[in-house]
Symmetry: C2
Subunit: 323 residues, 2 copies
C-alpha cells in the first residue's frame, strides 16, 4: 500500500479541523502554524501503526491528528523560547503577532490536542490519555534540559542522548504505540512499536546533528555548520570534546564559548577536528545501531511482513536509505 | 457540616501531589506557585458540589485538585503576559526564574491538571474531559479578550461581562458541575449547579471591580484605585463612560488614556464622577442580581435544603454577606 493512501487521510482530516472562531488573535495563529506544512510524520506513524492491525482507520484519524496539533504546539512555544524568527521559512507566531499571543494560542492548542482524543472508546481512553500525558510532560522535560545545556559547561553524551530521547524520540514512540493500541494490538506489540518509534526518533535526531555539518546545504535546507557557529552541544561536539587530544582541545577552546569573529573559519577548523577524530563515522555508527535496533523491534511485531512494508519504507525514507 | 471539613481534605490532597522531579527548573516553579496559597475556592466548590449528592468524597479529591492546578497554570501564564512582578506578595515565576521557565512550567502544569482527572470512572471520563477542555479554552478566550480590551477604545458593557464570564466565571461553574457529576447528580441538577457557579463568579468579579474603588485598603489587600490609575476598563468605568454628561466626559477624558501625572488626583476625580453618576449603587445592584439568580439555581437543585447549607454559606462568604 502506497504511503500516499495514508498522507491523503491526514491532509483531509487536517482540512476539517476547527480550532475556534473568536477572538481571532487566539485562533488565527493556530490556523497559521498548522498551515505552514511539514511532513506530518507523527500522524503518519499513528496511521501506519494502526494499519498493522486493522483496515478500519476512520476512528484513528482524529487521535493521529492530536499528535500533530501537539507537535505544533511545542514548536510554537519552543520558537518563542528560542526567539526563532522563522519556522519553515515563514515568520514565527511571536514575530508575526507578539509573545503573549504565542503563549496563549499555544496553551489552547494543547487543549485542542487533548480534545482530539475524546472519541477514543471509553475502555481505551484512560490508557491513551495517560500515555499521551506522560509523553507530553517528557517533551517539556526534554526542552528544559536542552535550554539548561546551553549554559552548562559539562554535558555528558548519555545526558545528551537522554535529552533528545525526551525532546524528540518519545513522541514518535507514542505515535506508534497509539496507533497500535487503537488498531487492537496486544500490549506487547504496542510496546514493541513504541520502542521502534523511539529508536527511529533517536536515529533521526542524530542524523540531523550529522547533516548540520556533513549535509548538502541545498538538500538539507539549512546553512551548513549552523550548530557549530552557535556552539550547540550536539552529539558531534560532545564526542569530539571527549576524545580530543591536547592539540584539538586547543582548537576547540579557541572557538567554543568565544565570540564568533569568523564563522567560516570556525566551521572549517571545528570540522577539521571532527575529521581528524573520525566523528562522522562514529556518528554514522550510532545512528545505524539505533536504526537496526528499531527494525529488530518491528520484526518482532506479530503481523505478516508485507503488512509492515509501509512502515519499513517510511523508516527508510526518514533515514534516506535505499534498503 | 463545617467548611473546614472540606478545606482539610483539599489541603491534605494538595500536600500529596507530586509534579515531577527533574529537571528542577521545570518542576520547582510548579511547587512554588502551588505553595503560594490562596483560598482554594475552586476545589472547594467541587467538593461541595459533590457533597450535595454523596458522602463518599474520596474519588472527588483528585479531580477537584485538577481545577486548582489548572487555575494556577492560568495565573502563571497570565502573570507573565501581564508582566506582573508579584503574586500573593511573592515574586512571580517569570521574575524569580525567567520567562522561558514560566512558559514551560505552565505547559506541564496544564498536562498535570489533565492527569488528575484520569481516575474518574470510564463512563464519566469523556463527559468530564470534554467539559473541562471547553472551559479551559474559554478561559484562554477570556484572557485574550481582556488583553484585546487594553488597546480597544470602544468596549461595550455586554462585551465586558462576556469577558469576565469567560475569564473567571465559567471555571467556577465547571468546578460545581464537575462535583455534581462525580457525586451522581442528574444532568439537570449538574447544569443548575454550573449556572449557580457561573453567576457567583460574575458577582464575585464585579465585586472585585467595586472593591478596587470603594473597598477598604486594609481588608482588600490592594491599593485602592489601582484599576482607575491603570485605566482598566472595569464595569465601573464602562458604565460611567456610557452615562456621563458633557462635564463628566471632560473629566474622564482628562485622565483616561493620558499619562498619569498625579495618581491621587486621578483616583479622586474619577471616583467623584462615579459618585455623581451613582455607579456604586448601580454596580451593587447588578452584583445582587447575579447573586440572587445564583441562589435561585441552587434552590432548584433536588436535594434537601440542609444539604445545601455549606455551599450557601460559602457563597455568602465570597460576597462577604451575612445572609
Amino acid at each position: 500500500m502506497d504511503l500516499s493512501f495514508f498522507t491523503q487521510k491526514i491532509a483531509a482530516g487536517l482540512a476539517e479541523l476547527r480550532y475556534g472562531a473568536a477572538p481571532e488573535a487566539l485562533y488565527e495563529p493556530i490556523r497559521y502554524i498548522m498551515a505552514l506544512g511539514g511532513k506530518r510524520i507523527r500522524p503518519l506513524l499513528t496511521l501506519l501503526g494502526a494499519h498493522l492491525f486493522t483496515d478500519d482507520l476512520g476512528p484513528v484519524v482524529r487521535p493521529a491528528l492530536a499528535t500533530e496539533v501537539f507537535h505544533n504546539f511545542t514548536l510554537l512555544h519552543d520558537d518563542l523560547m528560542d526567539q526563532a524568527p522563522l519556522r519553515r521559512g515563514q515568520q514565527t507566531v511571536h514575530e508575526k503577532w507578539n509573545p503573549n499571543v504565542a503563549i496563549l494560542s499555544g496553551d489552547v492548542m494543547l487543549v485542542r490536542a487533548y480534545e482530539l482524543f475524546f472519541d477514543v472508546s471509553p475502555t481505551l481512553l484512560p490508557t491513551v490519555l495517560r500515555k499521551f500525558s506522560q509523553t507530553a510532560a517528557e517533551v517539556c522535560e526534554g526542552q528544559q534540559w536542552d535550554m539548561n545545556f546551553e549554559t552548562e559547561t559539562q554535558v555528558s553524551i548519555p545526558q545528551y542522548l537522554d535529552m533528545i530521547r525526551l525532546k524528540t524520540a518519545v513522541l514518535l514512540g507514542f505515535c506508534l504505540e497509539l496507533g497500535a493500541l487503537l488498531g487492537g494490538a496486544s500490549a506487547a506489540d504496542a510496546d514493541r512499536l513504541r520502542q521502534f518509534g523511539t529508536d527511529i526518533g533517536l536515529a533521526f535526531q542524530l542524523r540531523d546533528d550529522l547533516l548540520d555539518v556533513y549535509g548538502d546545504a541545498a538538500t538539507f535546507g539549512k546553512r551548513v555548520g549552523g550548530d557549530i557557529v552557535s556552539d550547540k552541544k550536539t552529539f558531534l561536539l560532545l564526542t569530539a570534546q571527549a576524545q580530543a587530544a591536547a592539540e584539538q582541545q586547543a582548537t576547540l577552546a579557541q572557538y567554543i564559548g568565544q565570540p564568533v569573529q569568523d564563522a567560516e573559519a570556525k566551521v572549517r577548523d571545528v570540522t577539521a577536528v571532527y575529521d581528524t577524530l573520525g566523528i562522522r563515522p562514529q556518528t554514522e555508527e550510532i545512528i545505524n545501531e539505533y536504526f537496526v535496533q528499531a527494525l529488530r523491534h518491528l520484526d518482532q511485531v506479530a503481523v505478516p511482513a508485507d503488512r509492515k512494508e509501509p512502515l519499513r519504507r517510511l523508516a527508510l525514507q526518514l533515514m534516506e536509505r535505499e534498503s
